[in-house]
Symmetry: C2
Subunit: 393 residues, 2 copies
């Protein structure tokens, strides 16, 4: 219903490309007709897109009597997007085309606590390896997108008081990466990028959705009106530090008590299992026990699901989403977590808010973050504002 | 960062008007330059906007040697927007210009329980009276916007299981109103419209904000990335039925227990005050006692503020807004409510989420809803999709 931002430069190359990104080839005449732009404007804009390689001549369309007209089409291979999803102990790096589809990817071991001066060059090495192996050494690069396991001020690309990332607070991640690799660098919280990945590649029609990650920490990313909602300082989606009804005085690593993360994260579930004499420390231990059919572990994961559902019920009352996607390592344990989540949500929500709500397991799985990082790069590189600046200067 | 929707029809009259809505007069040549449109296209588009009265000839600009060129400007008085904010016991009706500024308004007594067949004609009578009194009988009407005190499916304009509106559930509000007055009719929840009103008229730069209404019920409206977030079925912002930490077994009119509304709404505060032997039933009674300096009443309102802050803290963790606006009749009691809200929010939120957060009293006050209703009509009527359909067919 609301207007979008004013499109003062409706006739720029970037706006023309936005049209062509649907993949349909068009003649110059068709483009002029579709946009109302002067033929001379269409010709000039197309020329700069052809020069940049972003549009290709797709051959001739049907003749209308005279010389057959050339048809032009978006060239998704014109440049390569670099993407990385960085966790505490490993990172996934990928190279993708301009539709955001990965061409190759690799998982590398890292230790986030080694700090950015060690970790970031490893990502760059990873990308260089993928480019070399894929024969893409000389491909133009659209940019690099990096997801980090903590709050990030998206506008500057600097981590903002990340709790598990010693040495990263306020660090100029884009500066460091672009010193090694001369490309635009975009940084975001990994859970935001999971949400962007699930949205763009798996659920493009879900305009209002929440993607929850349940692992060592608990976080979420939120799509509103089809766009990632990052919030004022990129701190949106912080599900893990909302007070859980069952949280009580349970101390949380954030310094507060009763946070959702303190009762329902992988380590919190493991702690519960240890009180039952089980040997569990990490999320992987918990998942292993559930998969082995351990009843206590199944119960504990289901209870964590209920706790998460209690907090999500509040989010559902506020957002009225159509879709909740649950991912992260604990979600890999199967239906137990989701069963608990659903139980609480349906108990605590008004019927209206849940009548069209789907609650599903992550579809992109462990790829969600890196798919989102690639989507972020493509959205940026092909946005009219950025592209026009490059092409017209 | 994300792309907006594709602007296939960059050269339509609606797109041209979007440019001119900034109020700056421009010549045809300036418009052609600014948009890249062919001069012939600009001329044709301007002609249809001039015919529709939406643009006026603002006289001649500086001569560039030849015949001085005419300058064209948006005409905000071309049509009138009708707006209504309907509460349980009264409604505010207004007429506004195409910038959304009210030209006249009036508050009329109604009883929402009389049902739509009685209430809606009263709104139409109110608008007709304002148009007549303002000499606007023959003005073109841009549309009518109506805020209702319950959930509304915005796409159809039908109330969706509203709890305090007998006879309204599923009622075709737009159909009934446009049978009386032949204009497009848009309907939304009144708290969504309060949020739109505060955003468009008082805080246009706050891209992420939550507007809370504390009165007989408790609700909120949420602006994400500068746009109203209505959610899947228009049920977003339902703060009142989120479980409050202090809610316990307190029964709520929704059928659940422990809801925020059951402990912090006007009637809930009044019930607390009655246990102290005070004579209070409505929000107005509570506000009266606070204003009279009653200590118990002040304490109870502050505690309600804390309860609301507890729930808002969860919303802040999820949204990371820059601004919380607190309105509604209980907010009129002064700083007590806000003091409690701030206390809980700062206790329960991560430092990152609150470092740039402002928490303020409503600025539009009781006008917020009707301002939002007018803004909704203007946004709709002047959106390129709607306007182009009218002008080009």
């Amino acid at each position: 219903m609301e207007d979008g931002p004013p499109t003062a430069d409706a006739g720029t190359p970037g706006e023309l490309l936005r049209l062509l990104r649907d993949g349909r080839p068009r003649t110059r005449a068709e483009l002029a007709h579709e946009t109302g732009l002067a033929r001379s404007t269409v010709r000039a804009r197309l020329d700069s897109l052809l020069d940049a390689g972003l549009v290709s001549d797709a051959g001739q369309g049907a003749s209308t009597g005279g010389r057959p007209a050339s048809r032009f089409v978006f060239n998704a291979m014109a440049r390569v997007a670099l993407a990385a999803d960085v966790g505490a102990t490993h990172a996934t790096v990928a190279v993708a085309d301009l539709t955001g589809v990965p061409l190759a990817s690799e998982t590398i071991d890292i230790d986030i606590a080694d700090g950015p001066a060690v970790v970031l060059p490893r990502l760059v090495d990873g990308w260089r390896g993928l480019l070399y192996d894929g024969g893409l050494d000389h491909a133009g690069l659209a940019g690099a997108g990096i997801g980090l396991p903590g709050p990030v001020e998206h506008s500057t690309g600097r981590p903002n008081n990340p709790p598990i990332m010693p040495g990263w607070d306020g660090y100029d991640v884009p500066g460091q990466v672009s010193a090694l690799l001369d490309v635009p660098v975009l940084v975001d919280n990994e859970v935001n990028l999971m949400a962007l990945g699930e949205h763009t590649r798996c659920f493009p029609d879900a305009d209002h959705m929440i993607v929850v990650k349940v692992a060592t920490g608990i976080g979420s990313g939120f799509i509103s009106n089809g766009r990632l909602h990052r919030g004022a300082v990129g701190a949106a989606g912080d599900l893990g530090h909302i007070l859980a009804p069952r949280g009580g005085d349970q101390p949380c690593r954030c310094g507060n008590t009763g946070c959702l993360e303190a009762v329902a994260s992988g380590p919190a579930i493991a702690a519960t299992l240890r009180t039952h004499g089980l040997d569990a420390v990490t999320s992987a231990d918990v998942v292993g026990l559930v998969r082995a059919g351990n009843l206590e572990a199944g119960r504990a994961v289901r209870q964590a699901g209920r706790d998460i559902g209690d907090v999500l019920a509040a989010c559902i009352s506020m957002f009225n989403p159509t879709l909740i996607v649950v991912g992260g390592s604990i979600a890999m344990a199967g239906e137990m977590l989701l069963a608990g989540v659903r139980e609480s949500i349906y108990r605590r929500s008004l019927p209206l808010a849940t009548e069209n709500l789907r609650i599903v397991q992550s579809r992109a799985g462990s790829e969600a973050g890196v798919l989102g990082a690639a989507a972020m790069v493509v959205q940026h590189a092909l946005s009219p504002a950025v592209l026009d600046n490059q092409l017209i200067g």
